[in-house]
Symmetry: C2
Subunit: 411 residues, 2 copies
Amino acid sequence: MRIEILCTGDEVLTGKIVNSNFSWMSQRLEDVGLSVIWGTTTGDNREDLLAAFRLAAARADAVIVNGGLGPTVDDLSQEVAAQAAGVELVLHQEWLDKMRDFFTRRARQMPENNIKQAMLPATAEMLDNPIGTACGFAVDIGPARFFFTPGVPREMKRMLDEQIIPRLLAKSGRPGIIRLKRFHSYGIGESHADALLTGVEDLAEGVKLGFRAHYPQLETKLTIRAEDEASIQARLAPVEAAIRQRLGNFILAEDDQTLESVVLAALNAKGHTLAIAETFTGGQIAGRLAPLPAARDIFRRALVAPDGPALAAALGLAHNASTAEIAEQLRHSAGIALAVNIALDEGTDRIDLGGAINIAIATPYGTVTRYARILGGRDWVRLGAAEMALDCLRRHLQGLPVDERIDFEKT
Amino acid sequence: MRIEILCTGDEVLTGKIVNSNFSWMSQRLEDVGLSVIWGTTTGDNREDLLAAFRLAAARADAVIVNGGLGPTVDDLSQEVAAQAAGVELVLHQEWLDKMRDFFTRRARQMPENNIKQAMLPATAEMLDNPIGTACGFAVDIGPARFFFTPGVPREMKRMLDEQIIPRLLAKSGRPGIIRLKRFHSYGIGESHADALLTGVEDLAEGVKLGFRAHYPQLETKLTIRAEDEASIQARLAPVEAAIRQRLGNFILAEDDQTLESVVLAALNAKGHTLAIAETFTGGQIAGRLAPLPAARDIFRRALVAPDGPALAAALGLAHNASTAEIAEQLRHSAGIALAVNIALDEGTDRIDLGGAINIAIATPYGTVTRYARILGGRDWVRLGAAEMALDCLRRHLQGLPVDERIDFEKT
């Protein structure tokens, strides 16, 4: 099935906002085995919108239109859709009632111009928007099925997942449901992960394996297609088990979890507070944990310094104190202390510039340390070191070894 | 003049990368008074590229194509351009020589498949790429002028500025040169700035004023068009002076400067080192300064804690120590100390949730303080507080008052 995405709006066309809706939609469709073959961006004007609808109708089987469903005069999607479909705009009473209810629940009066958002092409099928006032709709224009979505990202995302993807899968002759299962790891490169997971797709029918590398993390994606929820579960189970077994301790989070959320949950479960000392990072490690609401009762203190001796001095230690000694000293401020000392090599900032990373985690039960070297230039070393430090903390809290060798390490 | 931007490549079409090239190009063209009327995205396949070129040629006067100029088989731009223009691909000896030289200077042998990058449509005009191996080119396809640019952002940006925009301006019957002058400020809202600057456009011919708000900063943009450099200078001078006078102390940086670079330069000029103490930010203030190469000899230490009492305790002070006392204590670690204590109001994270900000700057000559309240929810308060703290430091280092009331402040 040939799918086109058509993004509308002057803010997108003039570049005032970066069009991340497009990439999000396209990735999501790829994830479920659907492919986007064309992308169009137009501004808020009638002639261009109409031309874009007609061109898209001629080259695609399904078209997802994003934006232009708002209450103001420059929101033209419904009107031009009706024109392109050759039908009238009619009031959709069900949506009007929902909108009035939406405002009532917020103790507000619905402005009259919101009525416009309930005017849909006569032949349209309404697509529910449970979190906003812009209802989506589907309508045929020429031989293509058009799906209209709101420009607000969270509204668009939910509508795509809940309303549009099931309809596209049905239309493409592949009914049933789709599940996306994701594993996040740190320390295994994409080609290594690919080799480790050879054959897992064959463990069940309807399973597709994919990767998305965003250094320092790698995302391993599993798409499962089946007739119903029970079959999804039955197919997913053996593949999921194989992935967990093969990627092992490197899996740091799954699905919507993040490394930060996993670390904070583990600290919270054990009732531990946390103090952090870091060099060279500018406080990036604390910066990833401390602002999160879940860190409220956990984060106690962070100390940031340019290098090891400065960090030691700040804690009243001798200049040559080890990272372990630094972590142990810092434990006066919290139940667990994480100390990370990064020494960048001398030299020009090039792809082969490296850094030495010393990590120490001090707990009531003792102190563990980790040493590694990473290459890749200033920012790459910094990013990798912060990730490694948080992942060591995750491993230690989960009772796993902190010193399993990773692919990015050089000796 | 009607301009279309055509982005090519499977990575963009499938959403693997967010298309920030499009928004950058479109903004840049807007900045010089040129308007993009259509955007197209296609993958790396011959039929779709050819169709996209023909459609763009029919609706636009000028088309900027991005991507597809690489040395590999899936880079098809030159080939399909030649086909659409109805001419042969020919070897462009000048570019081949440049490429060989490019590799020689890096002590490498040019791979044979790079020759492909010197094959241009016979009627094409070469566009120089001084920092890469993909040369750009301009060629007529039907009634439209096409400009082909590399996908690598820094190569594309330079080619757009140096090669393409001057040609587009000439083509649009507005020869001459264009200068973009930018002022960055914190504390004045867009509509307030607009009111303050009423009439400055009339101080010289060929001047256009614009704004780009990216909270917490506001960018005031001046586009000047003139025949030559001398006229640009002559026109710019009175307008620039008026803007500096009207926005006054709120201007924190100009053009490519940032608040961080201005602060570090001022500290460096005075030979001061810096220590930072912050609450609620997760170390965001230190995180903006410390990782910069210019901070190497300036940044001494940062201390991050959840709240004022924890910060005071970490410095060996009484729990109820003031922010000024905290800054003064911290001055044992550096020439200048910046302490920022943010107390978020209790309550749900909503748009009307506020926070109280206490800032103190301790120097060898004394201590200055600033108090403010900002509304806008958790992240908004955090961002605003970090900005205000750095801007107070900038003001103090520049001998300006730190307590001028800003538009985002509520009492």
